[in-house]
């Protein structure tokens, strides 16, 4: 069975510092991995995905994520945090739910707070 773990409920970082939001996964077969961001009282927005190829994936708003197969991790990173990056971040893995249909399993989310 597939699963996603986000070990930190909350991450605090000072504005201008680099940030990392951690994600580890468990899936049979090839992992298809995603990051989403959610602002208060809004739906989730897609940030980036890893399907195959380069282990460093670049996405929206200056975010990037590094796929590490040996550590089964897909950590989200940004070189310099902005106060506006404060939000809830979700990691997700795609899995085959049968009959050619794919679903996403989400982690529990990590609240990122960027301190001015």
């Amino acid at each position: 069975a597939q699963s996603v773990a986000q070990p930190e409920d909350q991450v605090n970082v000072a504005e201008g510092n680099p940030l990392t939001v951690k994600c580890t996964y468990s899936v049979s077969g090839n992992p298809y991995l995603f990051w989403y961001v959610q602002y208060p009282n809004r739906g989730l927005q897609f940030l980036l995905k890893y399907i195959t190829g380069d282990n460093l994936v670049k996405g929206s708003y200056g975010f990037e994520a590094e796929f590490n197969k040996s550590q089964t991790s897909f950590h989200l990173k940004k070189p310099s945090a902005l106060v506006s990056d404060s939000a809830l971040y979700f990691c997700a893995v795609s899995y085959n739910s049968g009959a050619g249909s794919y679903q996403l399993t989400f982690g529990k989310g990590t609240k990122l707070s960027v301190i001015p």
Binding site: Y32, N41, G43, L44, L88, S101, Y102, K108
Partner: protein, 116 residues
Amino acid sequence: SQTIHQWPATLVQPVGSPLSLECTVEGTSNPNLYWYRQAAGRGLQLLFYSVGIGQISSEVPQNLSASRPQDRQFILSSKKLLLSDSGFYLCAWSNRGSSSYNSPLHFGNGTRLTVT
């Protein structure tokens, strides 16, 4: 471009009353459609998904139901709401077909339901 509309944004309903939440997608054809519930601002629970008109798969048994009367319309319903139905309900769509495994979900802005 594709857009997803979800309404109402907020809803307060008494216990035992019926529910109807509507979601429509524009700018794409034959999408996969999803209903998620998010409790306490955190984890996402997949409630229903649909790969076509009249085709509904339920992930969690409960007093909710879903229908897809048109290709780009997805409705979440209940005949009698329970207190435990309170939460943030999110509709989403993704591409169908051979690339569905790597197709990100696109979310609406959600409906915050409070059952009193």
